[in-house]
């Protein structure tokens, strides 16, 4: 017992790292699916924010968190659909469309929230998700509280990561996805509908970003705040790069970023003399290092951010 109390700080740190990395992992996996199909979806931030608002609204009005998460995913998927129309159908520049979509989402979520709740002094709250202890496994010393006593979305996030890896790397569906992102013309000649695949991938990825946003407003917190994602969507994009476009690499990258955030909070509390800006900077420095190919070669999809046009003459 005494030992458990002694050990608690580092265990608490690891648990916090897992919790903080969960929304980043969900959003990054969504971004990965879109990027594998050749769509650079920088609208993750806006889609997360949409998910955060609609997840909160869903929980507030239905009282059911799973239903709220479903609503969040659908709402974010609608935002992704708008992004797809501009970026894929109209072939506008994906980066610019994303910046526009992010502004629209930031404005629209704030507007909807104020229209529904007004500007009251006390923010409306919901009952946040409770951790679910897995029977037997959660009783294991150290490992139990670390891995088997989390909220449902944590299990879902870390559960779908290997699934997404398997689908992308080992199934015909994943092959189709990669073909579209690596060489769209070749995919088209074998009868793959390039733009349909891109729509599907981006919308599915957007739904995951929505789920990540809902995690922020219904699990990590129990309120919605305007602009509450605070750049998490951009970190998710960095995680995809740091994870070298591999779902399993992304799990490690998300944990690294989550750990950096947890460390930053703890060092601040402990009053250690490292400027907190350095710790805030750390994940981005790691991403730059990864991009520069210091550790290994960076391997993005070949036709990332290139719209597809079949020359129909």
């Amino acid at each position: 017992m005494q030992q458990a109390i002694e050990i608690a700080p580092w265990l608490g740190f690891l648990i916090a790292a897992i919790r903080l990395s969960t929304p980043l992992l969900l959003a990054a996996l969504g971004e990965l699916i879109a990027e594998k199909a050749g769509v650079l979806n920088l609208g993750v931030e806006g889609m997360m924010l949409t998910g955060a608002l609609f997840g909160f609204l869903g929980a507030y009005y239905t009282g059911s968190l799973p239903l709220a998460w479903l609503i969040a995913m659908i709402a974010a998927a609608v935002v992704a659909l708008v992004f797809c129309y501009f970026a894929i159908t109209l072939r506008c520049h994906q980066v610019i469309v994303a910046l526009g979509v992010n502004l629209v989402a930031l404005g629209l979520t704030g507007f909807i929230y104020r229209s529904v709740f007004g500007l009251s002094a006390s923010a409306p709250q919901i009952v946040p998700a409770e951790p679910i202890a897995i029977p037997l496994l959660s009783g294991i010393p150290y490992l139990g509280p670390l891995l088997f006593n989390h909220t449902l979305l944590v299990y879902i996030a870390f559960g779908i990561a290997p699934l997404i890896w398997y689908v992308i790397a080992r199934t015909p569906m994943g092959l189709t996805l990669r073909a579209v992102g690596e060489k769209a013309v070749a995919a088209d000649t074998v009868g793959i509908r390039v733009n349909a695949v891109r729509y599907g991938a981006t919308i599915a990825g957007g739904a995951l970003a929505g789920l990540a946003g809902a995690y922020l407003s219904t699990v990590a917190l129990n309120v919605f705040l305007e602009g509450m994602t605070g750049g998490a969507g951009w970190i998710a994009v960095a995680i995809v790069i740091f994870g070298n476009w591999n779902a399993l690499g992304i799990v490690i990258a998300a944990l690294t970023f989550g750990a950096a955030q947890a460390l930053q909070l703890r060092l601040q509390n402990a009053g250690i003399e490292i400027p907190r800006e350095f710790l805030v900077m750390l994940p981005y420095v790691l991403t730059l290092v990864a991009l520069a190919g210091v550790v290994r070669r960076s391997d993005p999809p070949a036709q990332l951010c290139i719209p597809y046009l079949r020359s129909s003459k």
């Binding site: 501009f86 109209l90 072939r91 506008c92 520049h93 980066v95 610019i96 469309v97 910046l99 526009g100 979509v101 992010n102 502004l103 629209v104 989402a105 930031l106 404005g107 629209l108 979520t109 704030g110 507007f111 104020r114 305007e226 719209p307 046009l309």
Partner: protein, 129 residues
């Protein structure tokens, strides 16, 4: 890039110089904000400027003259937003929403235009890449 190399231009060197000049100009923009507008240094002062600059350059179709007009347009939008808040009590989210819609409308304008034209011409839409 192959043609440039053939003409004796070093692409990597050109890209490095271009990006360095671009960064220097961005730094100048930041300095002007501090020295001319805020008169004091604070963290995150230019947070939105960088992200707004990207669509401005694209709206200006990467022509310096048109970029000048585009930045004037976005500056007017920003000033108008502040005025709308002060005079008409339009909430900030609505202002942000309008700015986002403007970016989408402008970025989609080429595609919309050619779709509309081809509609009148009775052909299938073909958007210039």
């Amino acid at each position: 890039m192959g043609a440039a190399r053939h003409a004796g231009i070093d692409p990597k060197r050109s890209i490095l110089i271009a990006v360095a000049v671009s960064g220097a100009l961005a730094g100048l923009a930041g300095a002007v904000e501090i020295q001319g507008v805020f008169h004091r240094l604070q963290a995150g002062i230019a947070s939105d400027f960088g992200y707004t600059a990207i669509p401005i350059a694209l709206v200006g179709k990467t022509l310096p003259s048109a970029t000048l007009l585009a930045s004037l347009f976005f500056a007017a939008l920003g000033v108008g937003a502040t005025m709308m808040q002060l005079k008409a009590a339009v909430p900030l989210p609505v202002v942000i929403l309008i700015q986002g819609l403007v970016i989408l409308a402008v970025v989609g304008s080429e595609a919309f235009k050619s779709r509309l034209l081809s509609l009148f011409a009775g052909r299938r839409p073909s958007v210039p890449a």
